[in-house]
Amino acid sequence: MMKRELVIIGAGPAGLAAALAAYDNGIRDILIIEREKRAGGILNQCIHDGFGLHKFKEILTGPEYAYRYLKKVQERKIEIMTSTIVTELRAEKYLKVINEEIGILEFKADAVVLAMGSRERTAGGISLPGERMAGVYTAGLTQNLMNLQNIKVGNNIVILGSGDIGLIMARRLTLEGANVKAVLEIMPYSNGLNRNINQCLIDFNIPLKLSHTVIDVKGKDRLESIIVTEVDENLRAIPGSEYEIECDTLILSVGLIPENELSKQADVQIDDITGGALVKDNLETNVPGIFACGNVLHIHDLVDYVSDEAENAGQAAAKYIKSGHKWRKNNIFVEAGDGINYVIPQLITLGKDLEFSMRVKKPASDKTIKILNNNELIAKNTFKKVNPSEMIKINLAKEKLLSLKTASIKVVVE
């Protein structure tokens, strides 16, 4: 069993940024564990641009964004163990890993940063009706196959779900000669960024059909067609609105799920809304010395925000390693109130400048997001538009939280 000060699980954008921050805060004994052959995580297959505007003030592609961080990690000689999967994580920060060269290794860390990212919601996960033939893929898998393995999954394509990966793949497949017939979205609004709707669909005349979903997939060996229906405001199929679209491929872009199987092994408490850990304002989980950041904590829309968050986690882990665990007093719960789906962090204390990440439940214009304590206004921020697909960040200076009437604050949108 090898002892390490800090072990970071995942060398994607979160893991790399956390490592840099920990290093720059004085930690030298850092190990990043990465299951792929190269670091960079999901960015390696996101060859489109649109990354880095916030962090670098320029527009980069995914691999370029990853490369910038990777270079900094390499300059600092931080160890990345690639082709290595963590198969076990325990609350005492014990890790069992398997490495393609060496075999099974065991580590004991002082602190662990969870940066495993997310997985895609599948056909099974959304109870897609119909038979189980070839030709139904998730968008991320399609992207991996096309951009990393040079494989085109099909020619006549329908995409279910207007999440960003689905939109990006609509364009990508079109560029590679496929016929993308439509993007279907069960909600009355898109789950993708405006930019992607414009540049991935409108640019290529691909119709976006809101309030539409798939009720049957047909074909014995390979997909031959799908049956589509319109849905009402309760998302129930509207009888008589069904029609058939011939296609050989159905691509699902129906959401990401934080990949917390290891976290659960380590008794990390999971928030049932985010699917990620329930964290304090230093991104520490309920398990002392285990921190979480990036998509494993909650699904982000911009990688730049992942980097920001991971820097906070890396910094907090460094502090933990140097000065040990401290019991916190004045713990305050942050409640997602009316119109807010979730808020990160869920637990805060007094005397700290805070930054909240949150998502609203539905799109709206001219809204105010308020932070309340016992129904008294502590802070507010107004927005011309709010959208579930876009994460909202709100800062709260410590002066605003000098004294609270109850041990919880609530975030609402009005």
Partner: protein, 488 residues
């Protein structure tokens, strides 16, 4: 026309067909098994609850009761011989109100006559065994067990193959004629000549029977849909939990089944359908499954679901009557050496070993079968790395690089297991072939992570072109081709 000669041709490679093949492989007789799909076990054998039944639903004195009881008492040994998972988890048939308690006693009566060990138990006992299940009373069957139905079917086929049975996949029977005292079986591949035909074609057994001039049989396909729950919900359930069977439904009611791999199955529903191969799942039934499951086990939630699938029962009871009837295993009236197996539905998995014995005895009476000098009853499956103790894992990983690469992170499956699955004795090289042998793509990500890797292994290790990579054979191609440079 190129024709191959055999003593016996088995039509249908489900669990029954492969069990018969294995049973016959004990004797000096030349057997071929014909399967129209790209792998064995592609019908009801891979889409059922995987339950080894104790025998309390089959009428006393029926053939079904006989073969089921035989199967129940021999299953553990069979699974041990074939390296197939088997767990005697026990079953609770739960009465939710007092009225249903009487029905429990009726089941106990039938079961006890059949020789099953059954106890009626009360609320406290239920709670002690299944903390999350509510019920007034239950019938507890300690000898009910679970297995992996697809692994068993594959294992039976592989063991039969090792002992000399030929297994012809992708071979669909198009017609059968008796010419010069032998059956000439026309197929979409080479034609087959055989002295005996054993029709274990499941949903298609009525069609095959009609080739022998027997038009009496009609199969009524009856679909059952299932939900599969994530392994991380496995702690919710440790026994089989069944409702009191609904009257004349043709199924046992939607039940909860722990699988040998740690998932929970919800299902199956019970719906007569028109088309024998419509294995669709439907929105309405899926909603019903979750609802009925939650009646038993309220902790079940929709987000635990990782997959849905359906299997089709080959029933001979028409929908207007419903319920069950006995298995039909008999010689065709026109030809003694044409044996029809009709209506082998639940408990077909449990009964397969007994049915195999029964069918082989029928042939033995006509043919006087001779034991082979060497019959190897043991078959070894793929080494399941994740199930080994740490010390053994370390040794294997040190010796073999294939065990150092995890291809599937949900089920912890190594590259070596994928390679072993692709090198299977039956020569199945489809993605589903890998799935049913190594469990890859069966976990919560449903192949989102491992599929790209498995495809790479197929390309690199087996030199397969993209065009050859299929889900299930026929025209189930997974890909359209290369993205770049594919004109060359």
């Amino acid at each position: 026309m190129d024709t191959q000669n055999y003593d016996i041709a088995i039509i249908g490679g489900g669990v029954v067909g492969t069990a018969i093949a294995r049973e016959l492989s004990k004797y000096s007789i030349n057997t071929v098994l014909l399967e129209m799909e790209s792998d064995v076990g592609q019908g009801a054998s891979n889409s059922n609850s995987g339950v080894v039944h104790a025998g309390f639903t089959a009428p006393v004195g029926s053939l079904k009761a006989d073969v089921c009881m035989y199967g129940n008492s021999h299953f553990e040994e069979l699974c041990a011989d074939l390296d197939v998972p088997y767990k005697k988890v026990g079953k609770l048939v739960v009465a939710v109100d007092k009225k249903q308690v009487a029905e429990l006693y009726n089941l106990q009566y039938i079961g006890s006559k059949n020789g099953a060990e059954l106890n009626i138990v009360g609320e406290d006992f239920i709670k002690k065994m299944e903390a999350n299940i509510d019920g007034k009373a239950a019938m507890y069957s300690p000898n009910s067990a679970i297995t992996s139905p697809y692994e068993l079917t594959i294992a039976l086929a592989e063991n039969a193959f090792q002992n000399g049975v030929e297994i012809k996949l992708n071979t669909k029977v198009l017609g059968i004629n008796k010419i010069n005292g032998k059956f000439l079986i026309k197929t979409n591949q080479k034609n087959i000549r055989a002295d005996y035909v054993i029709n274990s074609a499941g949903l298609y057994s009525d069609d095959i029977a009609s080739f022998s001039g027997e038009d009496r049989y009609k199969i009524y396909p009856c679909r059952g849909e299932y939900y599969v729950l994530d392994k991380n919900s496995s702690s919710l359930l440790s026994h089989l939990v069944y409702p009191v069977p609904p009257e004349n439904a043709g199924g046992y009611g939607i039940h909860l089944t722990p699988t040998v791999d740690g998932n929970i199955l919800i299902g199956p529903s019970n719906e007569y359908i028109d088309c024998v191969d419509n294995k669709a799942t439907t929105k309405d039934v899926m909603e019903q499954l979750i609802k009925e499951a939650r009646d038993f086990l309220p902790k079940i939630s929709q987000d635990m679901v990782i997959r849905s699938y359906s299997g089709i029962r080959s029933k001979i009871v028409p929908p207007e009557i419903g319920g069950f009837t006995d298995f039909v295993i008999e010689k065709s009236p026109r030809y003694d050496n044409f044996i029809n197996l009709i209506g082998i539905e639940s408990p077909g998995l449990t009964s397969a070993p007994g049915i195999a014995k029964y069918v082989v005895e029928m042939i033995d009476k006509m043919e006087n079968l001779k034991n082979k000098e060497i019959f190897n009853k043991k078959r070894t499956g793929i080494t399941k790395f994740s199930e080994l103790p740490l010390a053994e894992q370390k040794i294997l990983a040190e010796e073999n690089a294939g065990y150092r690469e995890l291809v599937c992170r949900c089920e912890n499956i190594t590259r070596q297991e994928i390679i072993d699955a692709l090198h299977n004795p039956l020569g199945v090289t489809t993605l589903k072939g890998v799935k049913y042998r190594a469990r890859a793509t069966m976990g919560r990500c449903q192949g989102g992570y491992c599929m790209a890797r498995i495809v790479k292994i197929m390309q690199e290790e087996f030199n397969m072109d993209l065009e050859q990579i299929q889900l299930t054979g026929n025209s189930s191609n997974l890909f359209a081709g290369q993205a770049k440079g594919w004109e060359k």
